[in-house]
């Protein structure tokens, strides 16, 4: 590949220098001036524009023919179908105006090239014409605007009450989907509780207690370091700073615990939550409302087949709802691709592995979905398992 590229570059440079020499020679031979355009050149360029017009349109048609089949298949969600309709409507307008204006632009350039004995028309304006071409776009755009806004409002409002709620949680560089579990309520979360065993910062009595213990342990370690450090040195200063931070963190978590204790139910809603990675499932024809969170930088939930996208913003809960209406199997039939899968991609630059932050989505019948969900461990079970594993590792050491 390298050699090929080098050859292309070298050849390019050689051609260029040769061309330049030819130009220089011809110029000195026939003595043309650089601010004057000969008729031959003028006609050549006029023809060139016509050729370009044909070329550009052919290129467009070729692209549609060659790559049209690989564009996104029909929408797999209820609102997505509305978006596709709106899109097609817009395409009709756009391609028409693109074609007409381009034909006029290049054709006029061709037709009205300088011709001997023909003087340009001194036309400065034409009120009637100008009124027409201001009003016509205005009317067309009014339709585009009204249609567009009503579709947008349709998608963003009318949320059904009985929607299934799922949280999509982003961090560098993976996604977690969290289901509400048996109680149907997503447990609370707090970023100050995030730890190795609790990457989403879920709030349960256990996670709070663990976090407090972890902070105390860290503090004890730092205090030991401080007592060994040279007083007033940089190490001591840094360590003191770290201890201050931990104290602050501890106080915040502690206060949070007190707050939560006012309503002990809040501790329980998280227990039965089901976090899943790599792949998540959705029941077909059932509205789903996604709550979207991020714990570090901006990410974006992008599910192109469902025509769905919403940013994940740290410190802010965002949401998007839609109703998938084609199962994965149906879509495999439609696309004639037995390996087809719905995808969740990250679509907001988030760091080095941004390009590979994805999750598979399976849409299936409600029974299959329920069966799948039952097999997934709850947060509580999962945490206990990880905890046990960690303890075993510690014990074996």
């Amino acid at each position: 590949m390298n050699i090929l590229l080098a050859v292309v570059v070298v050849l390019g440079i050689i051609t260029l220098t040769q061309l330049i020499r030819v130009f220089e020679l011809t110029k000195s031979l026939n003595g043309t001036k650089d601010n004057e355009v000969t008729d031959k050149e003028n006609n050549g360029i006029a023809n060139g524009f016509m050729l370009y017009l044909i070329g550009l349109f052919s290129f467009f048609i070729w692209l549609v023919w060659a790559y049209g089949p690989f564009l996104l298949p029909e929408a797999a969600s209820v609102h997505g179908e509305k978006i596709d309709l709106l899109m097609n409507f817009n395409w009709a307008i756009i391609i028409t105006s693109f074609a007409i204006t381009h034909i006029l632009l290049f054709y006029f350039a061709f037709k009205y090239k300088r011709t001997k004995g023909v003087k340009a028309d001194f036309v400065t304006h034409n009120a009637k014409l100008e009124l027409v071409w201001t009003t016509v776009p205005a009317i067309v755009l009014a339709i585009v605007i009204i249609y567009g806004i009503s579709t947008w409002n349709d998608i963003m409002t009318d949320e059904p009450e009985d929607a299934l709620t799922i949280e999509l949680f982003a961090k560098q560089f993976d996604w977690t989907a969290r289901y509400a579990g048996e109680d149907g309520v997503l447990g609370k979360s707090n970023y100050r509780l995030i730890s190795g065993t609790n990457p989403m910062g879920l709030v349960t009595l256990e996670t709070i207690v663990e976090k407090l213990a972890e902070l105390e342990k860290k503090k004890a370690k730092l205090e030991l370091k401080l007592s060994n450090a040279e007083p007033n040195g940089t190490i001591a200063e840094n360590t003191e700073e770290k201890i201050r931070k931990i104290d602050k963190h501890f106080a915040k978590v502690f206060a949070y615990q007190k707050e939560m204790e006012m309503d002990s139910n809040l501790f329980l809603t998280g227990h039965d939550d089901i976090p899943v990675k790599v792949e998540f499932h959705l029941p077909v024809n059932k509205p789903v409302k996604f709550f979207i969170r991020s714990r570090d930088v901006l990410h974006s939930v992008y599910m192109p087949h469902f025509r769905a996208q919403m940013n994940a913003v740290p410190g802010m809960l965002t949401s998007f709802y839609f109703t998938p209406n084609k199962t994965t199997d149906e879509m495999r039939n439609i696309t004639k691709n037995p390996e087809f899968d719905y995808l969740l991609l990250c679509n907001k630059i988030c760091g080095a592995a941004h390009y590979n932050m994805q999750m598979n989505i399976i849409v299936e019948s409600e029974e299959k979905y329920n069966a799948w969900l039952k097999e997934q461990p709850t947060f509580f079970a999962e945490e206990a398992r990880v905890d046990k594993e960690l303890k075993e590792i510690v014990a074996s050491n």
Partner: protein, 599 residues
């Protein structure tokens, strides 16, 4: 009396050419020299930005392949064994965007043509303040140097995208480029904003106060109208970017949380709460959208001049053109949140911004129709400048129409941050502005350097550029419609996008071709400066005032008195005249009417 005195001093200066190098070429306060400085600095930056884009295009076409050239430019750290590092990929994308948007198409474009054309076309001796003008350039220069310096930082330059959205840009632990690299980016941009404000204020004051006798606002060339509105946009919107940048500096350095909230990074929960990343986006795009028109309006202004001159025909609908410029300028301030439909902003705002954004299509359409009608029944002379201007109208249409789709909040849901957006803004903003800038350079090069650019090389440059430009960006629409996200280091992880691998290679080859074509221009630019044909005083038989100044530059522009303007600048092919052009300095004949009503 006063005028005579002024004339005397001007002539005096004109005769003495013993000015030392340092004040003539470096710390010059002469607007013509400053214009050249902006052009040359902008061109150097453009080549840096272009080469960066070619480097990351190699990775996109042949992901994971080894290229000696990557290793040559980036070294073992960022391209070990010739394979581009993902962090460096993001850095290249970021700096490419920053350089092209700000350094080439803002400073390079406005800086060059506002400085060159404003005093010359309105009939002024120089800018209102030569000193401020000089400072504007030197702030820009410093800012360019710092931006280039940031490429050599150990952890890499800024790599959070040219929009530098926090928290990514605020947290060095999230991406290495957000360390010193980002600090330098912020310093560089702050200086850049200062430069832009100094320049902009000067342009506005000059246009308002220093027009020569008879140069009514309704007799200004459209290039000046465009530069005037551009300067106003810049002065009103750049300070907002400065505030966004300063707040980001506070968040990064002083522990404030304007943009940060509830963040856990690298094993630590930050103490910041209550900030909002959306605040930054609002502030950024409050500049960012007018910025698009800060780039486009001068381009449209240049195109108007070039098309009218070379069609030998008045620009069609002069007043409508001014109206469109003003309308676009005004609307550009109330559309910024169309960059934010799916950021979690209140959906109601989505509807509002869809409405305002789509309105911009109306004045834009008017401009396009006016250009096309200017060609109609003209007597078109295809100078290199003219063909670039026609190319610009083409890309302005192509990129503009896809804007109608992206403006629609409902459609943006699925297209936001995909290659469709990349195609859209590269065509409508990047290509249009670059083509217009070339048109401007080919047209006014004789005014800048007293010599003509080689015509044949100009033609070759145009065709290669125009073919490769569509070759690069037209197919990207299709990638976008397939859902390919932008700023992806590679797509090999996605079977879904595998079918587009060939297309990526085609795009990269077109990009390399386009890149090579620019070296033709560079060669022509440098060669003609010394050995190009000497230009006559008015090489394009144009009406505007700049062509009444002597070919050889003098301080104060006109050796004698300032010219008096008697007519609008578009009297081409006016019936009853011997020549097909009537310079603005020619008095109206008895019974002859001026401007749009002239027949």
């Amino acid at each position: 009396m006063e005028a005579q005195l002024e004339t005397a001093t001007i002539q005096d200066e004109g005769h003495h050419h013993s000015e030392p190098f340092i004040t003539k070429y470096l710390f010059s306060q002469d607007h013509k020299m400053i214009a050249k400085q902006f052009l040359i600095t902008g061109t150097i930056m453009a080549f840096v930005g272009m080469i960066m884009s070619l480097l990351f295009r190699l990775q996109l076409a042949w992901p994971g392949e080894s290229f000696g050239i990557l290793n040559f430019f980036l070294g073992d750290k960022w391209a070990p064994e010739g394979v581009l590092d993902p962090n460096m990929y993001l850095a290249l994308v970021t700096i490419h965007g920053t350089i092209m948007v700000f350094f080439l198409l803002t400073a390079g474009l406005s800086g060059t043509f506002a400085n060159l054309l404003i005093p010359l076309q309105i009939g002024a001796r120089d800018m209102a303040s030569g000193l401020i003008n000089m400072l504007s350039y030197w702030f820009f220069f410093l800012s360019s140097v710092i931006m280039i310096m940031s490429l050599y930082v150990e952890a890499g330059p800024a790599s959070a995208g040219w929009t530098i959205y926090p928290p990514l840009s605020a947290l060095p632990k999230a991406i290495p480029g957000s360390g010193t690299g980002m600090t330098l980016w912020l310093v560089s941009m702050s200086l850049f904003i200062v430069s832009s404000l100094l320049g902009g204020l000067n342009y506005i004051v000059t246009i308002i106060n220093l027009r020569t006798k008879g140069m009514k606002m309704t007799r200004l060339p459209l290039s000046i109208w465009a530069l005037f509105v551009t300067a106003i946009l810049g002065v009103l919107s750049f300070p907002v970017l400065l505030s966004a940048v300063l707040l980001l500096v506070f968040d990064r350095t002083f522990g404030t949380s304007f943009y940060l909230s509830d963040i856990y990074i690298a094993g630590e929960a930050l103490d910041s709460t209550g900030g909002s990343p959306l605040l930054f986006q609002h502030l950024f795009w409050f500049l960012g959208h007018p910025e698009v028109y800060i780039i486009l309006l001068p381009s449209l202004g240049i195109t108007s001049e070039v098309i009218s001159t070379n069609s030998r025909k008045p620009i069609f609908g002069y007043r409508a053109m001014i109206g469109s410029i003003l309308a676009i300028g005004f609307l550009s301030f109330i559309v910024w949140a169309h960059h934010m439909y799916i950021t979690g902003m209140n959906p109601f705002l989505g509807a509002v911004f869809t409405f305002t954004t789509l309105l911009i299509a109306i004045p834009s359409a008017v401009k396009v129709f006016n250009y096309i009608t200017t060609l109609w029944r003209g007597s078109i002379r295809f100078t290199p400048a003219m063909i670039f201007a026609i190319g610009m109208v083409s890309t302005f249409i192509t990129g503009g129409v896809t804007g109608i789709i992206l403006a629609d909040a409902a459609l943006d849901i699925n297209l936001h941050d995909t290659y469709f957006v990349v195609a859209h803004f590269h065509i409508v903003m990047g290509l249009s502005a670059v083509l217009a800038m070339f048109a401007g350079v080919y047209h006014w090069y004789p005014k800048m350097f007293g010599r003509l650019l080689n015509k044949k090389l100009g033609y070759l440059h145009f065709w290669l550029t125009f073919v490769s430009a569509y070759g690069v960006f037209f197919p990207q629409h299709f990638q976008g419609l397939a859902g390919v996200p932008r700023r992806y280091y590679s797509w090999t992880e996605y079977p879904l996008f595998a079918d587009f691998a060939d297309l990526s290679i085609l795009i990269t080859i077109a990009a390399i071709l386009g890149g090579l074509a620019q070296f033709i221009f560079l060669y022509n630019f440098i060669y003609s400066m010394y050995r190009g044909q000497k230009s006559p005083q008015n090489p394009w038989q144009s009406n505007t005032l700049e062509w009444t100044t002597p070919v050889k530059h003098i301080h104060g522009n006109w050796p004698g008195e300032l010219p008096t303007v008697h007519r609008w600048p578009y009297d081409y092919s006016k019936p009853g005249k011997d020549q097909d052009f009537v310079p603005q300095t020619v008095p109206l004949e008895e019974g002859e009417s001026d401007g749009e009503s002239g027949h």
